[in-house]
């Protein structure tokens, strides 16, 4: 009796999980199918759309890699992500350390204040910021994105790093200072090595969010040589009104999976930022 009930409970669990996996992952399965399906098979309404009715093909991948700017988009995305990570580290590490170590009451308030600026959405800021970038002559330049993307990475990462730094006991750096290191020396030689995982989180976060970003890139960049993956794929792989679904899905798939893998590993850390201390 207990055995049957246990089996039934397992079955419900697996049933539920499968339903959710299908819901979440189906669009990506759909991309895989379109990526490798021959046009003749793809554009046949009577054919079963879930399977290959004709042998798979690499044509769409070839088109994507050699007849479009896809590799340029990837390169641009990578450059923007790298620069945004660097700027974020330079701004957020000292700020978070300062808040975690020196500030008591006002530090907590200021930290939360900084976090709240993360909630100011790009859909409000993009209009005025588009005037900034136009004024600085940065339209169609990756620099416009590099300067603007830290608006969403710096507040969140400062908040995250604050938590990391607070978790490092003060005694460790005080001991280092007794041993003759300056405050900054202790930060660089003692605290930062201990918070490598926090710094790595910041880099991953800056990279993935830069890659995810759509609105600023859509607004600031219209030159196809300067596009990032997020806007290059949805806007450039459409010829006139004709969607080239094969290469389009191939591009969406290739750009999605690596960033998703990395993001998944770090997801719990980001979430600890969102829960704002409500979970200890």
């Amino acid at each position: 009796m207990a055995g049957i009930r246990k089996t039934a409970r397992r079955a419900t669990l697996y049933g539920r999980l499968s339903a959710f996996v299908v819901f979440s992952a189906f669009p990506f399965y759909w991309m895989v199918i379109a990526t490798f399906k021959r046009d003749h098979d793809l554009y046949a309404p009577a054919n079963n759309p879930f399977v290959f009715n004709e042998p798979p093909t690499l044509d769409h991948l070839r088109t994507l890699l050699f007849d479009t700017h896809f590799l340029t988009y990837l390169g641009n995305t990578f450059r923007v992500g790298l620069a945004v990570s660097a700027i974020t580290l330079l701004l957020a590490v000292p700020a978070a350390y300062s808040l975690a170590r020196w500030a008591k009451r006002w530090g907590e308030a200021l930290g939360i204040g900084i976090f709240l600026t993360y909630l100011v959405p790009s859909t409000i800021l993009f209009l005025p910021l588009s005037r900034f970038t136009a004024g600085w002559g940065l339209q169609n330049s990756l620099w416009s994105l590099i300067l603007v993307y830290p608006t969403f990475t710096v507040p969140f990462c400062t908040w995250l790093l604050m938590g990391f730094f607070k978790a490092i006991p003060r005694d460790i750096e005080e001991q280092a200072m007794v041993d003759g290191l300056s405050r900054l020396g202790a930060l660089v030689r003692v605290v930062l090595p201990l918070s490598i995982s926090g710094l790595l989180t910041v880099v991953v976060f800056s990279f993935t969010l830069s890659m995810h970003e759509f609105i600023y890139a859509l607004t600031f960049i219209s030159d196809s040589a300067a596009k990032t993956v997020s806007i290059g794929v949805p806007t450039e792989l459409v010829r006139g009104d004709v969607f080239q679904w094969g290469p389009l899905m191939a591009g969406a798939l290739i750009a999605s999976i690596p960033v998703a893998v990395v993001y998944t590993f770090f997801l719990d850390r980001f979430v600890s930022g969102f829960t704002m201390g409500a979970v200890k």
Binding site: R16, F20, F23, S24, A25, P27, F28, W30, N48, P94, A95, Y97, S98, L99, R101, W102, A103, I114, L116, L119, V120, P121, T123, I124, L125, L127, P128, L129, S130, V148, P150, T151, V154, P155, T158, L184, M211, H212, F214, I215, L218, T219, P234, W245, M249, A252, S256, V259, A260, V261, Y263, T264, L267, D268, V271, T275, M276, G277, A278, V279
Partner: protein
């Protein structure tokens, strides 16, 4: 400045360093978030256009003309409908999913990876996948319905046409957008809820099981009440992300058919960037502010309460 030898001096120097270290971040935030926000307010009270950003004070005329515009009113309503409907669904589904994921089972990392994909992959690319799934001719849903005899012949429940036209009919297009919002935010809400579940002390759960509380009863009496604050946080962040989102609507429908899925964010873009009417665009986008401010205040209260306990 006090003398070097006494403690005050050292503290002063520490204070200076503290300020110096935080100053760059604050300066950046003020310059790139604070100033643009003020500038948006300024634009909204002026007659600025992208062609002629030199602006003159125009009072509340942009707000008034926004409110008088039926498309704006529709966008305002849609923004609320999409956020509230999708997040109500998400909060229920994420609850179910989180408790399933908190059980031990084999292949958990793979399941987790697949379930998190909508949040971890760039949304513009995920939305492009959905656009192809909602295709007016090749939609796989339509194929299934035709196969099941629900669509395509006279008398079929979904109509005699060969396709549903998911994004071509106003109500269906709205539902389609809501589905993608649910799909996108479900993973985030789930991991937030998982964090809440794992924070419940083991003894409480064991005690409940000994007392015979299982399944729904355990959820209703133990886990849901204990994780209520975290459920609230997941809901509020979900509202923020859907309320301010432009990507999903822009890629799926561009606000169509005939503005049926227009939201504040897309309408800001079409008016302010494509139409070049900075002043009008800024006024439209600022209609998001009261809701965001309210949510921020709620989050602050929750954070403070969490601190006390």
């Amino acid at each position: 400045m006090t003398g070097q030898d006494d403690g005050g001096g050292i503290r002063d120097r520490a204070g200076t360093l503290a300020v110096l270290m935080i100053a760059p971040a604050i300066a950046y935030i003020v310059a790139m978030i604070g100033v643009p926000l003020l500038l948006a307010i300024n634009y909204s009270l002026s007659d600025a256009t992208t062609g002629d950003p030199v602006h003159h004070y125009a009072g509340l005329v942009n707000y008034r003309s926004a409110l008088a515009d039926p498309v704006f009113r529709l966008a305002l309503k849609n923004t609320f409908v999409f956020a509230l409907v999708s997040q109500s669904i998400v909060i229920v589904l994420s609850r179910v999913l989180a408790s399933a994921l908190s059980m031990p089972f084999r292949g958990k990392w793979a399941v987790r990876f697949l379930i998190m994909l909508p949040w971890t992959a760039p949304i513009a690319l995920g939305a492009i996948g959905w656009l192809w799934m909602y295709d007016s001719i090749y939609s796989p849903f339509d194929w299934l319905y035709r196969r099941a005899g629900l669509l395509g012949k006279p008398g079929d429940p979904f109509g005699p046409m060969t396709n549903i036209y998911w994004l071509g009919r106003p109500t269906l297009a709205m539902a389609s957008v809501v589905i993608v919002h649910v799909w996108r935010l479900l993973p985030l809400a789930t991991v937030i809820q998982l964090a809440g579940l794992s924070a419940i002390p083991g003894e409480i759960l064991e005690a409940a099981e000994i007392d015979g509380a299982r399944g729904w009863r355990k959820a209703a009496w133990i886990t849901i009440p204990l994780t209520l604050p975290i459920i609230g946080i997941a809901f509020l962040f979900g509202i923020i992300f859907t309320f301010t989102d432009m990507t999903i609507v822009y890629i799926l429908t561009r606000g169509g058919p005939v503005n049926a899925t227009q939201v504040l964010a897309t309408w800001t873009f079409f008016k302010g960037i494509e139409g070049g009417d900075l002043a009008q665009g800024a006024a439209i986008s600022l209609f998001m502010v009261p809701v965001l401010a309210g949510i921020a205040a709620l989050l602050l209260r929750m954070a403070r309460r969490a601190e006390v306990t």
